[in-house]
Amino acid sequence: MRAPGGKDGLVAGDVLLAVDNVSLSFGGVKAITEVSFDIRKGEIRAIIGPNGAGKTSMLNVINGFYHPQQGRITYKGATRQKMRPYVAASQGISRTFQNVALFKGMSTLDNIMAGRTLKMQGSFFWQLFRHGPAMREEIEHRRKVEEIIDFLEIQAIRKTPVGKLPYGLQKRVELGRALAMEPDLLLLDEPMAGMNLEEKEDMSRFILDVNNQYGTTIALIEHDIGVVMDLSDRIVVLEYGRKIADGTPDQVKSDQKVIDAYLGVSH
């Protein structure tokens, strides 16, 4: 079921991304302290932890939005001190945001089409005419986008400005926009926050399908422990910016430090 070797020459199970001894602080606030873990190709890797544990900051380090003061990031075999957003995007890292970050004034279709910008490199000249190569390119990518729209079952809201959509659908469109980049590594920051049970089930199904059908590696931040245990292959647990556990759902579930962290035992 796992993905075969991709264009990067990695096969399922190889380390796709490794975070090594990364620390990040904002002024005096230490968001991440000496955290190391890896993400293997083809897996669903959950990052969990209480509020303020540094989960979102970790995703921001991975796709180059924050630059860690210390540590290294190895992605597809290349080791860097820090990522750059453009490099991360062009090398196949895409993401969704904890607080939906869609392009509010644009339609569902345009939002997802915008996700294909990196793959649309036709000349500016033809863009002026919206004919010839520009139109062919537009149609070719529209076809891909329609596949995503069908996959996420959002045909009915294709032309709706996303600002007008209910929250649950916005999250779905945002997943669509991230998928449009055909990512090798998909970072999902609380894709089910604020959803009802039915919406969560839909979203879980989409995440599993993306992983199965396209072999996309996924890093998932989620507070709903039930969902995390069901979906993920391996889990890393953060607390106060430090890693306190790392392993399969079963290992993590029985880890005393994790139980303490989640039951709020005082330190």
């Binding site: 062009s90 970050a101 869609l102 910008t117 863009q127 002026l128 926009r177 980049m181």
Partner: protein, 358 residues
Amino acid sequence: MFYREAGQYKTSYAADMAIFPIRQDRIGIAVILLIAFVIIPVFGNQFFLSSVMIPTLVFSLAAIGLNILTGYTGLISLGTAAFMGVGAYACYKLTSWFPGVNILVWIIASGFVSAGVGALFGLPSLRIKGFYLVVATLAAQFFLQWCFVRIPWLVNYNTSGAIEVPERTLFGVVITGANATPTARYLVLLSVVAALTWFASNLVHGRVGRAWMAVRDMDIAAELMGIRLLTTKLLAFAVSSFYCGVAGALMVFLWYGSAEPEVFVINQSFLVLFMVIIGGLGSLIGSFMGAALIYMLPIVLRMLPAALGLPIASATVEHLQFIIVGALIIVFLIAEPHGLARLWQTGKQKLRIWPFPY
């Protein structure tokens, strides 16, 4: 003649991606073009052409330029008049150096000069946003304005300090200078504006426009999706200034006939900004509507008292004009930031489902 899409099935993505997917809209555009290119020149009198249509078209083009920057890319600029000035002075220099080359070539070329200057002044936009960027464009406005006044070379050392538009022809017809007829000037202007509007429409509906709007709506997400912020913003500055530059050149060559530096002062930047706000941020049709409303309002107000036989002093009319424009801006900013264009859309939507709104 119902405005409806029923029975018009789109069988390909190309058809669905057409800019006017509904047939009645396409007919509407054809009718507007027919009126603009045939009816108005044939039936419109000289006053209507030179005092209403020509200015409105010039300002529409400038408003499209500013709208690309402000409405589509979310970068507010107060340098519009200065970029129009760059176009005007560039066109004047170019046609003075090479009088033999067709003036239309120089009008377009002056747009490129303005694009370059615009991109240069757009450089700070990567680092600064919002209020501070407005201040940076204001600095551009004042610096360029200063150049227009202080560098006599720009006007070939004319003692008047003004651009004096020479006579130029197109296909043997005089289109600039004192001997150009309003009809000739209007038709040339209309052709340029129609073509550039078509280009703008193509741009904003494709990859480039999506990148602009993505940067406007959520620059962080855009950047993390591989949209380069600097390139995208600079392109917006360049394209915007191109349109403003061409509008400036057209303003002086096809409308004013001569122009002093005072034409390109900050007031004109505000005027175009008001057109964009009232017409609708992020709408090309709105740019025309805003330009028409703001430019024609004073004309109508001036003529109204006389027509109705009301004894209102012209000073009062002028004050009235400020009050109305001011009130309109406030109303639109609060109630309908998408301006006249959105009202028009809403109206069409109502018509589409009329008489059964559910």
